[in-house]
């Protein structure tokens, strides 16, 4: 049996396989990616200030994107999370964090849905203080326990029982930046 002589020629097998895979890579990944990169519509997000950008770094460091998408499908089931995502939403994102799992809710428009800084600070310090059935990790390492808050401190107003008795919970710079980032996640209005 012969397969065009290929079965006796290891170089030919490799050459054909590599060329085919490379061409398919070009057609299915690199060229469509270049086209998406060249998206010329207006960005539907605004550039971030330094603190918000730092907050996004914290979001990436903690792997928030493994449980929270930032990608709303044009489906009734996704309506609670906002309007359908558009290419313009991701133009300024490096990397865009569409995600593949929703163990927690989508966050593409969380700044609109939950605009309270205090809520987010409590939620990051002790998620179960605001959502009893939540399974989100508590990010206590971004907070400091103090006996008394200083004049410039941002206090997380956690309910009694969440914090050690007699202590106040002060948000560290990373917690403040992360909350600023979450509050910045607002889908811009677009004409349909």
């Amino acid at each position: 049996m012969s397969f065009g002589g290929l079965h006796t020629n290891h170089r030919a097998i490799i050459a054909v396989a590599v060329i085919v895979f490379f061409v398919l890579t070009l057609v299915m990944a690199i060229l469509p990616a270049l086209r998406e990169q060249a998206f010329s519509g207006p960005p539907t997000t605004t550039p971030r200030d330094e603190v918000t950008a730092r907050g996004r770094q914290v979001y990436m460091r903690e792997g928030c994107g493994f449980c929270h998408t930032q990608f709303v499908r044009d489906l009734p089931v996704d309506r609670p999370f906002g309007r359908a995502s558009r290419p313009g939403d991701y133009v300024l994102e490096d990397p865009p964090m569409l995600g593949t799992q929703r163990t927690g809710p989508d966050l593409a428009d969380v700044g609109t849905r939950q605009p309270s800084e205090a809520w987010h600070l409590i939620h990051l310090y002790d998620p179960r203080a605001v959502v009893p059935q939540s399974v989100m990790p508590a990010y206590r390492w971004y907070f400091v326990e103090k006996l008394q808050a200083g004049p410039d401190d941002v206090v997380a107003p956690v309910p009694a029982g969440s914090a050690p008795p007699g202590k106040v919970i002060v948000a560290g710079p990373d917690a403040r930046a992360l909350v600023r980032y979450l509050l910045s996640l607002k889908q811009a209005k677009v004409s349909p």
């Binding site: 079965h7 290891h10 490799i14 398919l24 690199i30 179960r128």
Partner: protein, 465 residues
């Protein structure tokens, strides 16, 4: 047709034996580390205050788990076995076991740095299986290229005219992975949604163009060798090779159905997800038909049950993947834990079981030492019951999540619905880890003798003369 799987020389050079065993042994270490981390992650979903330390937080250990089991366990075990298969089917000693050993240490170093950096929160964001920083990607690519070169030189030095079908798959895998990996890290086309297009291509092809390639390559040697009969159809094996190459790279975008990535890309992906049924069933059918009339061997061998389970896992997980690609299924199942069940059915039910079967089938032939059949049986049943519990629980969790969302209920309802299933997933995971400990003991029992001795094959199935 003459089948190198059957006519391989009875003795193996000691250097090839040692390096193959070292790959398998290190793979086992990473299996234990990677799945322990996976278990911790699983426990955290029903006990969120378990081990509340930053380096062990869910978002950090999730990529540590996936990368260690994919690149540590699965890849190292299959590379070690593939190097042995390449040498056997070419009927020459492995070209430069020394270089293969250098590559192994490069893998190990990359995995160690990867583990430490991911737990320290140093990553490139939630870009699945390409989370760690680029210097580690360079190291890993170098290791794969070295291994691939060793395999290539061995096949080039073969004493047979034909290139046995195993080596098509193995050399293919070694060629595809570096292209895939480099494409996924180069930044020039990854602005905006360009990144997402590449993500779909990468995360999907990592499975079909690497793990599937090496697993099938090893299976096309191990099955005829263990059964003592030639493969059912050489032509079907070659058909599977080419159709996999033609269809698989087209279907990555099915991870982003209903997303703003181009609609034609999504539709092509769905279409060829159906096309994948050709290589999948050609491959499974071909390998399973090799067993026709030899079911007695299945009872006597402790390696073959793993391989048969793996082949069934291949067919099931691939068919499931095709169904999940449809837009209707996407509405109900995408973003849910059903995806996690699918990936474990594929990586564990298929890849891991094939790797175990090949280790138990081939390693005693090279080292001359066998594990206790009872311990192998315990390993098999713990792993099988464990993964079934895991996959059924987490798939049920996914369906419950999807139903809660479609019913338009508050989001937390989907969390409450899934939580009992998350506990069952942990129970399945515990059984799986138990099986890994038994496997580690068995690997130790199969270790090579310290000095060169002529090895006689302790065949579970007697070879025809």
């Amino acid at each position: 047709m003459r089948d190198p799987g059957l006519t391989a020389a009875p003795t193996v050079d000691h250097a090839t034996v040692r390096v193959t065993f070292e790959y398998v042994a290190w793979a086992t270490v990473w299996l234990l580390v990677g799945t322990t981390i996976g278990l911790i992650a699983s426990i955290k979903l029903h006990w969120p205050e378990f081990l509340p330390f930053a380096p062990l937080s869910f978002g950090r250990i999730r990529p540590a788990h996936t990368n260690l089991v994919l690149l540590g366990w699965g890849s190292l075990a299959l590379v070690g076995l593939a190097l042995y298969v390449v040498s056997r089917t070419s009927r020459v000693p492995l070209w430069s076991p020394r270089l293969a050993r250098i590559a192994l240490w490069l893998w190990n170093l990359t995995l160690l740095f990867g583990l430490v950096t991911l737990m320290a929160g140093v990553n490139r964001g939630p870009q699945e299986y390409r989370e760690w920083v680029w210097p580690l990607a360079v190291m890993l690519s170098a290791a794969v290229l070295i291994d691939g070169y060793v395999a290539y030189r061995t096949v080039a030095a073969r004493t047979l005219t034909e290139v046995y079908v195993s080596n098509w798959y193995i050399l293919g895998g070694f060629c595809y992975l570096p292209i895939l990996y480099v494409t996924s890290y180069l930044p020039f086309y990854q602005g905006g949604l360009g990144n997402t297009v590449v993500q779909g291509y990468y995360m999907h092809n990592a499975m079909g163009m690497w793990f599937t390639q090496l697993s099938l390559g090893v299976s096309y040697y191990a099955i005829p060798r263990l059964l003592g009969r030639p493969i059912y159809s050489y032509a079907l094996g070659v058909l599977g090779f080419w159709t996999n190459l033609l269809f698989y790279p087209l279907i990555g975008a099915h991870h982003f159905i209903f997303s703003p990535v181009p609609w034609w890309l999504q539709s092509t992906a769905i279409l060829f997800s159906v096309g994948m049924m050709v290589p999948v069933w050609a491959g499974t059918g071909n390998l399973l038909l090799t067993f026709k009339g030899a079911s007695g061997a299945l009872h006597r061998s402790y390696a073959l049950p793993f391989i048969v389970t793996g082949l069934i896992g291949y067919a099931l997980s691939s068919t499931q993947g095709t169904i999940e690609a449809f837009r209707t299924a996407n509405i109900y199942l995408h973003f849910t834990n059903f995806t996690v069940g699918h990936s474990h059915l594929a990586m564990y039910g298929f890849i891991t079981f094939i790797a175990w079967g090949a280790v138990y089938g081939l390693v005693p032939r090279l080292t001359g030492r066998e594990p206790s059949p009872l311990a192998v049986g315990v390993h098999f049943w713990l792993a099988l019951v464990g993964v079934l519990t895991y996959v059924i629980a987490i798939s049920t969790a996914g369906i419950l999540q999807g139903l809660a969302w479609v019913a338009g209920q508050s989001f937390i309802v989907s969390v409450i619905a899934a939580e009992p299933m998350w506990l069952w997933r942990t129970i399945g995971g515990l059984l799986m880890i138990g099986s890994h400990v038994v496997f580690a003991v068995n690997v130790w029992a199969m270790r090579p003798y310290p000095v060169t001795v002529p090895v006689s094959s302790p065949d579970p199935v007697r070879m025809p003369a």
